[in-house]
């Protein structure tokens, strides 16, 4: 006689989440091919997550854009609910500090939601992309650097500062990444970067306790200048 264990006898726990927040420079200098390729890359990122069995259930993505001010254009959502974009306007200055602070605030709120709902999650990822020099509030920039470096030191955040083009201020980006130098995107290879990012998210979502998921540095060679 079979042991009668029905669906009601078992628990269906939510899949542990991998929160990924993209903090994107949409200042005037991004106008043209840069912003078009960036938007195309983000949409490809969504598609790649959608097609990956592990990442599909685990990844939650949010987007903060910053120009003369920062704004949340995509709150954390699973891939089914992510809104594909045709375009993002590129205009104004580069309030990088404000953008990062909004990204971190959004992340903290999401972590509270997870904790309140009993949803397990992995170390969050912050992807910071800019093509220029920050010209927002110096205080906000300093606060953002401090918050990010504190979280990285406590192993509570993985950060990927990415410079776009030759004008990106790599020194400022380096301040956000004490353990790893920032990377400069080779040309406009956003597509390759976001393919790499989706694969990395998939690896994290497959990890179990004790696994140390380090960025796949070999994979970086496909899209970045080291």
């Amino acid at each position: 006689m079979a042991l009668a264990i029905g669906a009601d006898d078992l628990i269906e726990n939510p899949t542990p989440r991998v929160p990924v927040i993209l903090c994107l420079d949409t200042s005037g200098s991004m106008m043209g091919d840069k912003i078009r390729e960036l938007v195309r890359g983000v949409n490809l990122f969504y598609d790649a997550i959608d097609e990956d069995d592990d990442a599909h259930d685990a990844a939650e993505v949010s987007i903060v854009k910053f120009n003369s001010e920062a704004s949340l254009i995509q709150d954390f959502s699973s891939v089914e609910r992510l809104q594909r974009r045709d375009a993002i306007d590129a205009t104004g200055g580069t309030a990088l500090g404000e953008g990062v602070n909004l990204a971190l605030d959004t992340l903290e709120k999401r972590k509270s939601v997870y904790s309140g709902a009993g949803v397990l999650y992995y170390q969050p990822w912050l992807v910071l992309m800019t093509d220029g020099q920050p010209n927002g509030s110096a205080v906000e920039l300093e606060r953002a650097v401090q918050r990010v470096t504190d979280l990285v030191a406590q192993k509570k955040l993985t950060v990927f500062p990415i410079g776009i083009g030759t004008d990106a201020d790599m020194d400022v980006l380096a301040k956000f990444s004490p353990n790893r130098p920032p990377l400069r995107l080779r040309g406009l290879s956003f597509k390759e970067f976001f393919e790499w990012l989706s694969k990395s998210v998939s690896r994290v979502s497959r990890s179990t306790p004790g696994d140390t998921v380090k960025p796949d540095l070999e994979g970086l060679a496909g899209w970045a200048e080291l």
Binding site: L3, A4, I5, E12, L120, P209
Partner: protein, 249 residues
Amino acid sequence: MFNEFHYQVRGRGHELDGTRGQDRTAYLSGRGIQVLCLADGAGSASQSEFGAQAVVEEGCALLIEQFGQFDTSADAEQARQEILERLHERLAGVGRRLGCTFADLASTFLAVAVSAERFVVVHIGDGVIGYVKNGELRVVSAPDNAEFANQTTFVTSPDAASSTRLFRGATEGVSGFILMSDGTSASLFDNRSKTLAPACAKLIEAVAVAPTRQVKSPEHKKRLRRVVDTRLREATKDDCSIGILARRS
């Protein structure tokens, strides 16, 4: 007397990438004590299945030898030290034999030991230990996951001593215990409400009513293994292991 059942199955993730399962279970009885141990080898540790095997074997022997002391001692700190020293000593020997480091043998550790009247529970890391007392299913020890889903404490972790949870009590009213690795807990433990699935009580009951006569491959164990191989294993890519001590009906 308690009936026992323990079993581990390699997870779908390990099967896909051709690696060995890292969960291990063991049972031992002697001196009027019955012990069930379970360990989940760390994914990042290269020889963790050997570490897991070593700690379940050593844990069983230790709890039979020291049950009386652990049950009565007022000094929990000393008990924690003693347990870890003994497990570490065994792991050091395994490390020498395999030529690997201590950290290569990392695993969690869950144990339940029972005498006629008392029980002792030891838990390091994730996984869950529960019991049925006075007909009610309760959690004895919940997963220790720190902030992130892929973080926990192992027997080999620097903070293992402070993270070792010890429980003891009377077996009166207790009809059974259940131990599970984190893979199994995906379908037997509700992370939101921190409660056990109703299936736990059914599994304990199935072990409790099992025939006691010795046969080579008892039918009830086949049925229990089938539940693990299908229902529990399908819900996760991780290894699944389970241990049950159930008072004979």
